[in-house]
Symmetry: C2
């Protein structure tokens, strides 16, 4: 049972966001920019970084929903996402992404754990400053989202079909609330 | 030296925010709502929660700047802020704030560390659902800001006078970028 009276029937972070729309707006916008905004990293790669960090933070809702979102960006390849989650150094992804995942894993522990040599390795594998910046911030942001979800003890569905559908929606429609989009559209008429 | 090429001469998070204005906007907005928006917790109390979490995350820039912001909300009472930072259970603050700090300290470790009995205690001391929600989110958000600042190895000034001035500005003007404010004002003319 959630620690506070959150709107019923909404899963995970969605219930916290519905409880407090004022903070929900920037939290949704940040996820949208980081995971789906213009970037030289694909959304599949960025969702895998988010999933990797959420897995290390042991946040069931976030790791399961973003795992599904990543898979939906990758033609349904859940196997690849799980390889990154549990054994990233041997996963069939680019050496650049492996180096970025290494940085994300350090950020999950502590910002100070990131060493100059971790950055150097990512650079040698072709990572740009912006890619390094966004990797650090995705990892840091999921240290927030994960703690928010579990710190409120939000409702955590177990139905895997539901996460698959949620992931498909996250990959297709993103993180900015449909109501905001509808309002924005209405405002222009 | 910062891990990536951040704008020079800007301290701590300010350099990361200047490097990436797209992500800066929601990050600034979230801090503004959580620390200075309408709330039954004072800004002084909320800045002390932020300082407490940043201290536990060992983030020098954030703990020193928010310590100063908190003090400026509290008539310059740095002593009180430091009592909360280092010995909150015996600090001369309300039993409600002590219970909320206990929750924030748990969130800093992990969302799952927050137990029903921690929430129950805060409720008994008079905390509302919204105050508990915001405490969890302030703590979670500073787990992001702290990791962002240290994960990029941003420039960390040591001059205490500078932090005092920064804290005064944070307490007086808040977190939304002056340029945005100026632009918003210009748009209305």
């Amino acid at each position: 049972m959630p620690h506070i009276h959150l709107p019923e029937g909404l899963p995970g972070i969605v219930s916290g966001l519905a409880f407090r729309p004022e903070t929900a707006r920037p939290m949704r916008e940040l996820a949208e920019i980081l995971l789906r905004g213009p970037s030289s990293l694909t959304s599949g790669e960025r969702e895998m970084i988010a999933t990797f960090v959420s897995t290390r933070n042991d946040c069931y809702f976030c790791q399961t929903s973003h795992r599904a979102a990543a898979a939906h960006h990758l033609d349904g390849n859940y196997e690849l996402v799980d390889a990154v989650r549990f054994n990233h150094q041997h996963a069939p992804v680019s050496t650049k992404l492996k180096a970025l995942l290494e940085i994300a894993g350090k950020v999950q522990q502590s910002g100070k754990a990131v060493l100059a040599e971790d950055i150097e390795r990512a650079r040698q594998e072709g990572a740009t400053d912006l890619e390094i910046h966004d990797t650090v911030l995705i990892a840091a942001a999921f240290c927030m989202y994960n703690r928010y979800v579990d710190g409120l003890a939000t409702f955590t569905p177990q139905d895997q079909q539901l996460y698959d559908e949620m992931g498909a929606r996250m990959a297709r429609e993103g993180y900015v609330q449909p109501a905001h989009r509808a309002q924005a559209a209405a405002d222009t008429h």
